[in-house]
Symmetry: C2
Subunit: 243 residues, 2 copies
């Protein structure tokens, strides 16, 4: 996880005590619920929603129980209510302002990614260190120079930063983001970032995922070779969907 290994913090707040693993699945449930709502469903059972989200129904129910009791026994969950509750738990009732640093290949794509806007995030500004790129217009935004970062973050109440620079620039960008007041960073650069306590970092490493797939591919090839020479005969029953 992934992921959740550190003890979750029992801080004061409505959503305290929600396990990290659950938090990571809430967006998936939310997406499935939106799809169900669009399809005209009014209520949904844990079994149906679990299938749509690709998880076990018991896990789903336990996840939802961390947010409260919003189901009706014998009936299921009201889709609209659940959308509202999960959105609230995830903090999506407000529209977060995000800055994106690095408008190279990947940064370009991220700037134009519709999924951000549709899920409650607003790209407040694009930055790059390359003077050549400053002023370029991408997805309705002018690319600004990284030196303007402090001002924009303060003016636009930005708390989330996205790093899409080359790896060798990522740490410096992270430092500047933190100094400007950003407290959450999504890092696409293939490197480990050092940040002070209180700053959350999540990383997305495109090549890393492929390398994990490579591991399993090799394993399949090995076992196919040792067990039986047929290529697609005995591959084992697995999925890795969960991340």
């Amino acid at each position: 996880m992934s992921s959740g290994n550190r003890p979750r913090i029992r801080a004061a707040g409505r959503t305290r005590g929600v396990p990290e693993a659950t938090v990571a699945r809430l967006p998936v449930y939310l997406r499935a619920l939106h799809a169900l709502a669009d399809a005209g469903h009014d209520t949904v059972s844990s079994e149906e929603l679990a299938v749509a989200a690709g998880v076990n129904s018991a896990k789903l129910r336990k996840d939802l129980s961390h947010l409260g009791s919003y189901g009706t026994r014998g009936v299921g969950y009201e889709v609209a209510l659940l959308v509202d509750q999960i959105s609230r738990a995830l903090g999506l009732t407000q529209r977060w302002a995000v800055v994106l640093v690095g408008v190279g290949n990947l940064g370009h794509a991220l700037a134009g990614y519709a999924g951000f806007a549709s899920r409650g995030f607003r790209i407040a500004a694009l930055f790059d260190a390359d003077a050549e790129r400053v002023g370029e217009r991408i997805a309705g935004q002018d690319v600004r120079h990284i030196d303007d970062l402090d001002r924009v973050v303060a003016e636009e109440q930005v708390s989330i930063g996205v790093i899409a620079t080359p790896a060798d620039a990522a740490q410096e960008v992270a430092d500047r983001l933190v100094e400007a007041g950003v407290t959450s960073i999504l890092n696409f650069a293939p490197c480990v970032l050092q940040v002070p306590d209180g700053v959350d970092v999540r990383k997305v490493d495109l090549a890393l995922e492929l390398q994990i797939l490579s591991f399993h591919e090799q394993r399949k090839a090995d076992s196919a070779g040792t067990v039986t020479p047929l290529p697609a005969s005995h591959v084992d029953a697995r999925e890795v969907v969960g991340q």
Copy 2:
């Protein structure tokens, strides 16, 4: 999880018994080792490498112990040897052929992403269903029509497919990939894929990561509000780096 929750498979093969959580970290170690090698380091201690990879040193040693005993007590690990062993474990001694389906905003960026090539993956072909896009030249490759998928996968021995299409097209693309013989899929479309047993799916959801950050941001804001009105006073000591 992310991640590793299903029981790992004890299949016949050299790398059996490597926990999923360990597999997910091996690429990180590998990257750190490459950086150390470039910096001229010949050997490295578990403590040094752990810092570079952002993990606990005991965890690192236990991870490496799953691959075998490649360290020297009192000295550390030989960088070159470790690179070799991890590469072998991950199946990176061969160069995997990958097909990329969907050359929209994100697909474009992925096609040009240098990190794939530098880590042992070769993009064998680009595909799109839009006739408008077929023939377009991206990163030295001609975009082909999705109907050519079967032929290319067979000819080029492709076992890994990357989906970068809109969500509503992803399932059909996945079906066609599987039918063509692909056994590992990296899915960038924001939806859950149904695939037969024996096919591995990993998903990367850009908006999902932001939503997780949103959750923690809200929690910080809540606790800052309830504990003390100062904005950046008491944010709790956390990192989420691990994923």
